[in-house]
Amino acid sequence: MRCEDVQNLIEGLAEGEITPNADVTAHLQACTRCSTSLSCARQIDRALEALPVASPPPAFTASVVRCTRSVRWESEQRLDWWFNTVMAICLAIIAAGIWGLMHVTGLTAVTLGTADFVGRSLPALYERVKPQLTLYLTAAALVFAALGIWRWLERTGQPRQPA
């Protein structure tokens, strides 16, 4: 038996997956090079088994779960953005369709007349509202501030993905 043949079997022999036949055993007894290889392969096998295994830190699971919350939130945000965009496009198409229909049926002329009437009525309306204008503006400012705080809390309250 040649060294080359035995060398191909060394790893299997070292691991015990191959049982040496009489020829291989005789060769290993006679050939120092192949018996050294076998002993080296066995040493490698033992060393590979004994290599230290990295262990996750105790907080690993919690950290991953926090990460997935962030992933989910980002995914929901993306979905919201697409939904809003699609809705805006749909509304624009509907508005354009209505306008086109009104134009075809001659309703736009009537609508323009109405707009002109409303335009002329606005100054009169303003005069009536003027005394309570500060109150209305303050109320509107409060509503927008509340909405702004709610939006800010929603954004900052989300966990961020660690780097």
Binding site: I44, A47, A50, L51, P56, T61, V65, T68
Partner: protein, 183 residues
């Protein structure tokens, strides 16, 4: 491992059950960590990469069809993450180079020499770093308890025989490198 209800956990994860995902992470974190720790060269990256694996698992769960075992799918993701990391400070030896080194390896004159365990570990880690990432992943998987040849074959999308052959070749390369150092 046998108490782990794979299908049930996957279903609960898909329903958004955070606790179920925590159970899944707990079940596989040691194996994922072990595989990555033994495959990548930069050990400071293990934590981030293990986290990346589970984030990918989380993202992929809605698309997981259950055609393979959950563990196999996770090994595949781990293998992909390791391969993408691909941090190899030195170019890996090609099989031809290794064969050439093998031809020049130890002769009977140095047969009596052997490495001490500590020396062997150090040299082995150096030799491992010269193997391609797939070979390192195979060796890591093979020597970690719980990873079967079949899992590795499916994870790496290779026939079972190829996995065994590649593993033997990787180990032979390790031996040839170490024997070469004895000369």
């Amino acid at each position: 491992m046998s108490d782990f209800d794979e299908a049930g956990v996957v279903r609960r994860c898909r329903e958004g059950d955070e606790q179920a995902f925590g159970e899944l992470v707990d079940q596989f974190k040691h194996l994922v960590y072990g595989l990555i720790g033994r495959t990548v060269l930069d050990h400071s990256r293990v934590d981030d990469l293990a986290q990346e694996v589970f984030v990918r698992v989380y993202r992929g769960l809605p698309h997981f069809r259950g055609e393979s075992r959950l563990s196999t799918w996770i090994y595949r993701i781990t293998s992909n993450v390791c391969r993408q990391e691909g941090a190899q400070p030195r170019p890996a030896l090609s099989l031809d180079e290794a064969a050439e080194r093998g031809a020049r390896r130890a002769e009977p004159a140095v047969a009596e020499r052997a490495f001490s365990d500590l020396e062997m570990r150090e040299r082995l880690e150096k030799a491992l770093s010269r193997l391609p990432v797939t070979a390192r992943f195979l060796i890591a998987g093979h020597y970690l308890h719980g990873v079967r040849y079949e899992d590795l074959a499916e994870a790496l999308n290779m026939p079972l025989g190829t996995v065994k052959t590649q593993l033997y070749r990787a180990k032979r390369r390790l031996r040839e490198v170490l024997e070469g150092e004895l000369t």
